[in-house]
């Protein structure tokens, strides 16, 4: 896996300088998932985050007597997981591959440490994570309007 290629679709990686990209590469690993495999569990420690390279990942929450309902799907370039950036670093949702999927995993603790040492990097990462949060909030609000219902 070459992070340079993933840079084209990932807003997070696109923001990084070459030096920082090298650092990110040093704390990353490529993970292959079969459809249905879980990336992380709801309530688990958010010590890793992911960028989708190929395939799709669904965010879901379990509920008694029901198949877990997917509330959002993420595809190539998308950041999987935001809770790693915020205390208490615990996942709110379960992430599961919806098809055969390749993701790049990053060591969240290392990235957080690097951010504490490098304010410029911290700002860039904060900017990307906030923009992603704002975009997801915006889309969720539009979804809440239930626009396609019968008038």
């Amino acid at each position: 896996m070459n992070l340079q290629t993933l840079r084209e679709t990932s807003p997070l990686l696109a923001k990084l300088s070459n030096t920082e990209l090298e650092f990110f590469e040093s704390v990353s690993s490529v993970v292959g998932l079969k459809g249905g495999e879980v990336l992380f569990e709801e309530g688990g420690p958010a010590d890793t985050f992911y960028v989708v390279s190929e395939g799709r990942v669904g965010l879901e929450m379990t509920s008694p007597g029901k198949t877990p309902m997917v509330i959002q799907t993420l595809g190539p370039g998308d950041l999987v997981g935001l809770s790693w950036f915020f205390a208490p670093h615990r996942w709110n949702w379960r992430a599961r591959a919806l098809s055969d999927t390749t993701v790049v995993a990053f060591d969240a603790a290392q990235v957080r440490k690097r951010c504490r040492e490098n304010r410029d990097l911290a700002l860039e990462v904060l900017g990307v994570v906030s923009a992603e949060l704002a975009a997801r909030l915006h889309r969720t609000r539009i979804q809440l309007l239930d626009l396609y219902r019968a008038p």
Binding site: T9, R56, G58, K66, T67, M69, V70, I71, Q72, T73, G75, P76, G77, D78, L98, S99, A135, H138, R139, I142, Q143, L145, D146, L147, Y148, R149, A150, P151
Partner: protein, 286 residues
């Protein structure tokens, strides 16, 4: 001298408000409240149209409504409408059966800029019933696929059960020359596709923002949000087209109902460049 000369020349104009008799020739249930009807003219004279145009459909004794044509422009012998039951007239239309007679006027209005899109990448974004007025564009582009660059369809629906044209979506998805992304607001246990708003899928499709024509149809809020997202991605507002909907009684710019600012949407629309209406779309109650 007293009488405007243009009018004298048009003295023997055909009856603009008089429907032509058609008959339902096929009916297909799309969703719980939506059907697709095929209709054939009693006189055998087909109804040629351009994608995005609409007709006025008259149901005996009940009334008339504007409906976008959802059929294939290459085959004008059959008129196809995909209708959702949302009022007295559409309820009656959805309830029609094969063999039932109806009246048809049209086609009317300005359609999608298919000609202008030639030589460009094309991004088609549909929401809910909004896929119906866009289906003729897909047909038109597939009929002359080599004339267009990358073509993609992004379609958002309320639930998997609300998706229109399921079989066709399946066929389109299997084509290598058409990128199809489908997403729903709420998934169900059988759904293995995407969940979320259509804008979330835009990063996945390939197009050159400097050389792309976008066509959007769906609820006004959805079109606004998608148009702004496409602008952010570098499309010029002139290259983004939206289809607007207002009350229509005559379809020939007489009744005044469909006015949206200076536009009679029956004649100047329903398809308009986003740049033309972007400001008006932010005013409440216009």
């Amino acid at each position: 001298m007293m009488f405007p000369p243009t009018a004298v020349a048009a003295r023997d104009v055909i009856e603009p408000m008089l429907p032509r008799p058609f008959r339902v020739s096929a009916r297909r249930v799309e969703t719980a409240d939506t059907v697709t009807l095929e209709m054939e003219p009693d006189d055998g004279q087909g109804l040629a149209f351009t994608p995005g145009q609409f007709t006025m459909i008259y149901v005996f004794g009940i009334g008339e409504v504007p409906l976008s044509i959802s059929g294939n422009p290459q085959d004008p012998s059959t008129l196809v409408h995909t209708v959702r039951s949302v009022g007295a007239v559409t309820r009656a239309i959805v309830g029609l059966e094969v063999g039932d007679p109806i009246g048809v006027r049209g086609p009317y209005g300005a359609g999608w800029p298919v000609g202008r899109a030639e030589g460009h990448d094309v991004v088609v974004v549909a929401g809910g019933i909004g896929l119906a007025p866009l289906r003729p564009v897909i047909y038109a582009m597939l009929a002359n696929r080599e004339r267009f660059g990358a073509v993609s369809l992004v379609y958002g629906s309320r639930t998997p059960a609300d998706l229109l044209f399921g079989d066709e979506l399946h066929i389109w998805r299997s084509r290598f020359d058409l990128e199809v992304e489908v997403t729903v607001d709420r998934s169900d246990e059988q759904w293995f596709g995407d969940v979320g708003m259509v804008t979330g899928l835009l990063p996945r499709i390939s197009f050159d923002p400097a050389n792309t024509v976008a066509m959007l149809c769906g609820p006004e809020i959805m079109m606004k949000v998608v148009a702004r997202e496409l602008e952010t991605r570098g499309l010029a507002p002139d290259d983004i087209h939206v289809s607007l909907e207002r009350n229509m009684k005559c379809a020939i710019a007489f009744c005044g109902h469909c006015q949206f600012g200076p536009d009679f949407l029956c004649r100047d629309g329903p398809v308009v460049p986003y740049s033309h209406v972007a400001q008006r779309l932010t005013v409440t109650g216009l």
